[in-house]
């Protein structure tokens, strides 16, 4: 069951003697060789294409290592995809995918040809944007206190310190605020989705990161709608300027909208 591990688990940066593997960034439709410059992972490797019929894998040479998902490595991976994306519709590969040889990459293209072709058709001229929304909890609560009579009344009661009721009033207040916060959060999220829906092809909500985030979404957008999407994001972020922070990123390859399960196995 356990194969012997011959791979090194660190990535020695320079002076790498054995350059036998291929790091694969993405798949595009292209039938003639193309060079994307020395921008590859592991210190500016040359990025080029490996072909099968009208499909091409964007690769760079690499030693057979496991790439840790450090910021530096992830940025290198993304930079290549961004560069290629400027001209092509891409199917991004997951970070850290290394094949042993060019033949293995060709075999990937050959055996998955139909699925890649279908997805490339579907993703033609579509790009992804990421939108993370964080809130200023304190400000939202302050807002609630102004707008919600029940909460305001309880706060008053507590601040006037009517001894007998304080403890329960506090508990009640806590529960009320929590419930109101949940309501407000889903209203904000629904509102943002509603605003962006007309200019997006699809959207997907991911798990929020950390305790300030209320929305972590990806949107699939037609290239021709990029401007319109952009404007909508700005508009909705202005609407919530006081309360919410919008983290808007992209364009990305459609990471969240391509789901091809590759049958890969360890190559030792």
């Amino acid at each position: 069951m356990t194969e012997p591990q011959t791979v090194r688990t660190e990535t020695p940066p320079i002076a790498q003697p054995a350059v036998e593997g291929k790091y694969v960034y993405c798949i595009i439709r292209l039938d003639k060789p193309r060079d994307f410059g020395s921008v590859g992972i592991g210190g500016g490797q040359r990025v080029y294409t490996v072909h099968y019929q009208d499909l091409a894998a964007i690769v760079s040479d690499t030693p057979l290592v496991i790439y840790d998902p450090t910021r530096e490595h992830v940025l290198a991976h993304e930079f290549v995809n961004e560069t290629v994306m400027r001209e092509f519709t891409v199917i991004p590969m997951s970070f850290g995918t290394v094949f042993r040889s060019e033949d293995d990459v060709t075999e990937l293209l050959r055996s998955t040809y139909q699925a890649f072709s279908d997805v490339l058709d579907k993703m033609q001229d579509k790009i992804e944007f990421g939108l993370k929304v964080l809130w200023e909890r304190e400000k939202v609560i302050a807002n609630l206190e102004r707008e919600n009579d029940e909460i305001r009344r309880l706060k008053d009661e507590i601040s006037r310190n009517i001894a007998s009721s304080t403890y329960f009033a506090r508990m009640q207040l806590g529960r009320l605020v929590e419930a109101a916060l949940e309501g407000v959060q889903s209203r904000y999220v629904a509102d943002i989705h509603e605003a962006l829906k007309p200019v997006a092809v699809a959207s997907r909500s991911n798990k929020v990161i950390g305790d300030r985030m209320i929305l972590n979404a990806a949107f699939l957008v037609e290239r021709t709608q990029e401007r319109a999407f952009d404007d909508k994001v700005k508009e909705v972020s202005r609407r919530y300027e006081e309360l919410l922070t919008f983290k808007y990123t992209g364009p990305w390859p459609p990471y969240n909208f391509v789901n091809i399960k590759l049958k890969l196995e360890k190559a030792n």
Partner: protein, 101 residues
């Protein structure tokens, strides 16, 4: 917590099989923690968020990232040692004969 309680009290009253069962369970829980990289990846995403928000600087990021990378490597090593699948490293398209390997 519950596990600790069982370990501390159950064996006193329980049969020998109970002790063995508890130890087996402890080992399983420990193994599950050792071989699960999801929490580390979650922490990595949170760390990246902190950097993007400007809550931490590059130096602190680098320092904390290094710790998380070491944990990822540890997880990988445990998975390998226990004969489990690991992400990363050279791959090839699975041969049709050994599908669903």
């Amino acid at each position: 917590m519950g596990l600790l309680t069982k370990l501390l009290f159950f064996p006193i009253a329980g049969p020998v099989a109970g002790i063995r069962w508890s130890l087996g369970k402890v080992q399983r829980v420990v193994e599950e923690e050792l071989v699960d990289d999801a929490p580390v990846k979650q922490e990595l995403m949170e760390l990246q968020m902190l950097l993007e928000l400007g809550d931490i600087d590059d130096a602190e990021y680098a320092q904390r990232e290094a710790v998380l990378m070491q944990r990822l490597r540890d997880v990988r090593e445990w998975r390998e040692r226990l004969g489990m699948a690991t992400a990363g490293g050279p791959v090839r398209v699975a041969r049709e004969s050994d599908d669903d390997a």
